[in-house]
């Protein structure tokens, strides 16, 4: 493998015609996708296939059909799959922890699994990621004594070990408090080496804040791929704010200013047109796709 050289250019990850079924449920339906360097946000409702797509990219599960190429490497080939895993950081959606391990001990163990066998380098890596997620003072704490948010940060830390070229994070901000979410955004934005980061989340404001690219996955299919601004623009001219609820609108909800926000084809009486957000664009797409 020392002879192997990979291209990690603009199109680092390519997905062609990817399909995956679970019994009669079609989780992914001929997905075509190209991921570039930088952060890509993956938006979609529950059951849209986000986790399945990420697990395929992480070489955890195999597709029923289609091809995946990560840095030009084919995960179906054993040696190339191992090479992908050497440059991969992965945070699954539901991650348990070895609760009797200490924080530093767990990270050290994961570092060995990532083939960082040199003790000195491993210690440096553990210290680096602990500092990055703000858990350096908890290094000796057993995982069972950590709060849910701290465990989530620990999960992010293990994904960052080894400075991966491909970072796959499945709902990494779940359970984080607002301050930690901000810190997490800063952390991702400041990652050195400009890796490929795929981020699945339900937080549209996270997407808007840090993702230059956003992909909306609905019912196993890619319904949108572009910038957050482009996603927001899909709802342009269809978002209104009013004092009363409009029963004819596609979607209505009360905002923080105690006014009703409507997404629809026609404005309700007395409503004023407002600038759409990423969330509006996503909701518009979801409604158009018939997702409830």
């Amino acid at each position: 493998m020392d002879e192997m050289t990979v291209n990690v250019g603009t199109a680092a990850v390519r997905v062609d015609g990817l399909s995956r079924r679970y019994g009669t449920t079609r989780a992914l339906d001929e997905v075509d996708l190209t991921l570039e360097r930088g952060i890509t946000g993956l938006l979609g409702p529950n059951g849209a296939g986000k986790t399945t797509l990420l697990s395929v990219l992480a070489t955890v599960s195999e597709p029923d059909a289609g091809r995946v190429s990560v840095f030009g490497l084919d995960p179906r080939e054993g040696a190339q799959r191992a090479e992908i895993r050497r440059r991969l950081g992965y945070l699954p959606q539901e991650l348990g922890y070895h609760r009797h391990f200490t924080v530093a001990g767990f990270l050290d163990y994961v570092a060995i699994l990532k083939e960082i066998t040199d003790r000195g380098r491993r210690a440096e890596e553990v210290a680096r990621v602990l500092a990055a997620i703000g858990l350096e003072r908890r290094a000796r704490t057993r995982i069972r004594a950590l709060s849910g948010g701290m465990r989530q940060r620990l999960g992010i830390a293990q994904a960052l070990l080894g400075r991966p070229d491909l970072l796959i994070l499945d709902e990494p901000t779940a359970g984080l408090d607002p301050e930690q979410r901000l810190r997490f955004r800063e952390l991702l934005s400041g990652l050195a080496g400009d890796p490929v980061i795929v981020l699945s989340t339900h937080q549209a404001d996270d997407i808007a804040a840090i993702c230059p690219t956003v992909v909306v996955l609905l019912q196993g299919q890619v319904r949108f791929a572009g910038t957050p601004a482009e996603l927001a623009a899909t709802a342009a001219g269809r978002v209104w704010a009013a004092d009363d609820r409009d029963t004819c609108a596609h979607l209505s909800w009360r905002g923080g200013d105690n006014r009703w926000r409507h997404i629809g084809d026609a404005p309700p009486a007395g409503a004023e047109l407002v600038a759409p957000t990423v969330e509006d664009g996503y909701l518009m797409l979801s409604h158009a796709a018939g997702v409830r």
Partner: protein, 355 residues
């Protein structure tokens, strides 16, 4: 979404690359650590966890307690002591089995299987590391053997410890751990390890029938030739038969200690207190009450006086020859005579008698 301008390219021996995807920057592949180094790194962690495992500690204490109880007040023969130490090792092995099963099933039990799959270290690497990490159970096993052997020696165990037999105890513990790993990789639930330990216990419990599944784990329980594990060769054993007949004859009332059938020991001559009897051949073991009167003690070669009883004496008595070694006479006499003076009819040298 931007369309792919060109697919990534890969050059090198291990992969074929699309030729038209060469417009991106090339970076070298990540250096790969030799699998052995990964295994050793993981094994070190697993061994450390095993050493610090409360389960293993509990198994060690329980094994020690079992050995202690089995030792009891009985006459400590080494072949018997080894069997009892082995039973303590079995208890420790059960604990190691459960601990190893928990370790091997840790990833799946803790919902980390998906994460582990994404690592370059394969499941096979992890399993090998778990197996190598079983050396972490060896210190507990050796500690149990050492402590039990020390107790046996202090009690003046007769015979010689079989090093291979004792080493078999370590192997038992390691093998039990390997079984635990095999179980844990398939069945991560903690109960699977407990059941495995139970199976190990039951298989050993039936091994006396020669059909137990775990008989190969317990070589000292192969009892078909238990006498063969007595110290010394079987050659030159015929005097034992005579000795048994002789001692048996003297157990009859009126033939041992007086006409009234009083079986109390005869008055001691030259008694050296609790330190045993000093005869022409040297010190006797402290507990050699039953055989102290036997004249064959005098067959000990000169120059062996002062030798400590136990291992040294037992090794000394391993000399082949027609004369029955003291270490054999004593257990047999103890068995036949109930551990009391049997009053051998042969003429005892002065100063040799029983307590």
């Amino acid at each position: 979404m931007t369309a792919a301008e060109g697919g990534p390219a890969l050059r090198g021996a291990a992969a074929a690359a699309p030729a038209d995807h060469g417009d991106e920057a090339r970076i070298p592949a990540r250096s790969t650590a030799p699998r052995l180094r990964t295994v050793l790194g993981l094994a070190r962690v697993e061994a450390f966890l095993l050493v610090r495992s409360l389960l293993v500690l509990a198994g060690l204490l329980a094994g020690g307690a079992v050995v202690w109880v089995l030792f009891g007040p009985t006459e400590p023969f080494w072949w018997n002591a080894a069997w009892r130490i082995g039973f303590g090792q079995l208890v420790l092995g059960m604990a190691v089995l459960v601990a190893a099963q928990l370790a091997a099933g840790r990833a799946r039990r803790d919902s980390m299987a998906d994460l582990y799959v994404s690592f370059p270290a394969t499941a096979g690497t992890r399993t090998v590391a778990h197996l190598a990490g079983l050396v972490g159970a060896a210190p507990a096993s050796l500690l149990l053997i050492g402590a039990a052997a020390a107790v046996a020696q202090v009690r003046g165990a007769i015979g010689a410890p079989g090093i291979t037999v004792l080493a078999g105890g370590v192997l038992l513990v390691i093998a039990a751990g390997a079984a635990g790993i095999a179980i844990g990789t398939r069945f991560p639930h903690p109960l699977a390890g407990v059941l495995g330990a139970l199976v190990l216990f039951l298989s050993s419990a039936t091994s006396q029938l020669g059909s137990g599944g775990g008989i190969w784990l317990l070589p000292w329980e192969w009892t078909q030739d238990q006498l063969g594990s007595l110290p010394g060769p079987l050659a030159g054993y015929p005097p034992v038969g005579a000795h048994v007949l002789e001692t048996g004859r003297h157990r009859r009332p009126g033939r041992d200690g007086g006409a009234d059938g009083d079986r109390r020991p005869r008055p001691v001559q030259g008694r050296a207190g609790d330190r045993g009897h000093r005869g022409p051949g040297g010190d006797l073991p402290r507990r050699s009450t039953a055989t102290a009167a036997h004249p064959h003690r005098g067959a000990e070669p000169p120059g062996q006086g002062g030798r400590r009883p136990g291992l040294g004496a037992a090794l000394h008595h391993r000399q082949p020859g027609p004369v029955l070694p003291l270490s054999r006479l004593r257990p047999l006499a103890a068995i036949v005579g109930g551990g009391r003076s049997t009053g051998c009819s042969r003429t005892c040298p002065p100063g040799l008698t029983s307590r």
